[in-house]
């Protein structure tokens, strides 16, 4: 309980009109910050987390006691150098780490909201987080950054709030969720919903969770985060603590054991209903359609500097989809940099120790920050 008390959050009183038509107000948004806001208030970076992330990007997550999800990138002397920058990260609405989500207790029933929670979108997530900037009294962000669903939020944020950020770093993402990605998300949702413990979303979090369904969802998703080559090199056909096949359905292969482990640890930290809601939000993301099929219009008159990064072995959000964003930005003469980082670590690359990736971001941010300051003087 003491850890939960340490959790920073704000109550957003203002009414937020959601894309689904419903309105929410007086809802909590949990967040964490790293580093210090300087006097000029020009060193703030808002980081958006991906599907299963939370506000604890750096250091040790006080709830799970594990390393923050972007510990490789965020911290003193790291890519997002917290000795220099003030890094803010909020748990998305729909999430399960203190922000308003399906696990939030409804005061009327004293039970989790469950599937009475409204279907939310990336746009809703970003609009909710904007309130945090008002609360922290940040007029202009130095940067917004995020990978995967975090990257989608970057694009949506820059589109919704033009010139609120000087730099935008959408990483390994897309402007329009592909059929393949929707298909994988649907697979995950079906796994959860076909678990008899799901009970139409009204499971009691303390006793019977749809753990099996959620674990299968995570296992399937985890495969999509890795590359074929990466899996082959790491596991091959290696057997798990046995010298030969057992002619049964236990985990004979290391890869099976690894996936089972990934599934089992995930259910301890994540809520099944949150998984449904957040994957839905990703599926609904189509910034191109929002602007009548012309993505360039999403960034009309932008003065933000964009730096887009993709990874060679990422087949979930492939380079081609990241490049579509580059093309849309070039079409309107926006300031855009783009590089595809070579790695066999798949979509997960943005979360891992990929030195080329981490150092390029670090140098880009540091140089750009000092260039902006020089020009202002």
């Amino acid at each position: 309980m003491s850890d939960l008390n340490k959790m920073k959050n704000i109550i957003i009183e203002k009414t937020l009109k959601l894309d689904c038509g419903k309105e929410i107000s007086n809802f909590p948004l949990a967040y964490e910050t790293y580093g210090n806001l300087n006097e000029k208030k020009d060193n703030a970076i808002l980081i958006f987390h991906a599907l299963t992330g939370d506000q604890y990007a750096s250091g040790i997550n006080p709830i799970t006691k594990k390393e923050g999800w972007w510990n490789y990138a965020v911290g003193p002397g790291k890519s997002f150098d917290t000795d220099k920058f003030f890094v803010i990260c909020a748990n998305v609405i729909g999430g399960c780490m203190g922000s308003y989500g399906p696990g939030t207790i409804d005061p009327l029933t004293n039970k989790p909201i469950g599937t009475n929670f409204p279907v939310i979108t990336i746009n809703d997530m970003v609009n909710a987080q904007y309130n945090l900037l008002d609360y922290l009294k940040i007029e202009k962000l130095f940067a917004v950054a995020g990978g995967s669903m975090g990257g989608m939020q970057v694009l949506q944020f820059v589109s919704n709030f033009p010139n609120k950020a000087r730099v935008a770093l959408p990483i390994a993402c897309t402007s329009s969720h592909s059929a393949q990605n929707i298909a994988f998300n649907e697979l995950g949702r079906q796994a959860i919903m076909s678990d008899s413990n799901w009970k139409e979303g009204s499971y009691d979090e303390k006793s019977t969770n749809p753990d099996k369904g959620l674990a299968v969802a995570r296992m399937a998703a985890h495969i999509t985060y890795l590359s074929k080559q990466g899996l082959q090199e790491k596991f091959g056909r290696n057997l798990q603590e046995r010298s030969d096949l057992k002619f049964g359905f236990d985990a004979d292969f290391q890869i099976e054991s690894y996936l089972r482990y990934q599934g089992s640890v995930f259910v301890d930290r994540f809520d099944a209903n949150s998984y449904l809601y957040i994957t839905r939000a990703m599926d609904y993301f189509d910034l191109t359609k929002q602007f009548g099929g012309n993505l360039s219009k999403a960034f009309k008159d932008t003065k933000t500097k964009f730096f887009i990064i993709s990874f060679t072995s990422d087949w979930l959000y492939p380079t081609s989809e990241n490049k579509d964003i580059v093309i849309a930005l070039n079409a309107i003469g926006a300031d855009v940099g783009f590089v595809e980082i070579k790695t066999d670590k798949g979509h997960d690359s943005f979360l891992l120790d990929v030195p080329d990736f981490l150092s390029t971001i670090k140098n880009y941010l540091n140089t750009t920050y000092s260039n902006i300051n020089e020009r202002r003087i």
């Binding site: 580059v326 300031d335 590089v339 140089t367």
Partner: protein, 198 residues
Amino acid sequence: MKEEFKVISKFIQEKSRVLDVGCGDGILMEYLSKNKVVDVRGLEISKEKVKKCLSNGLAVIEGDAENDLKQFPDLSFDYVILSQTLQAFMSPENVIENLLRVGKKVIVTIPNFGHWKVRLDLLLKGEMPVTNNLPYQWYNTPNLHMCTIQDFYNFCNNKRVNIYKSISLNGEKISNITTSNLKYKNLISELGIFLLEK
């Protein structure tokens, strides 16, 4: 090559939008940014070089000029620069056409294969020339389509491309190329720098 950058920089007017195609490490981009008030972008095929550029805060995108110039709208830049890379393309003809579509003006520099040392190498040794500017052997050269200053003149004439200015570079010596001294400049220039318009 500093002189080349000086010449290019002189061609470019203040407050213009510039695209450096095949920008390499971004040295020219940095030179232009320091010496002029310009909005300069780069396109580069090598990942390593793109990372270097981005690390220096330059707006560079990884891409191949033969495929990725398509994404830039017509006349979206005041100047498009192609410094010593024309000879490396599969289809220099298409690239030039695309440069002239994207840029209001185009600056092309070419290592001159008509230089006397190059001619002498082939004439006396009977071997493919290897010089300071063109240090590769025939079997490992990235230069697929070498040309001379004369060739480039002929190409522009055939394609009805207007050569607005042309400059010869020989060591540190900078001089104008005209139709009357073309034969001579084609013999003594190491590099030709051209300002083109459609």
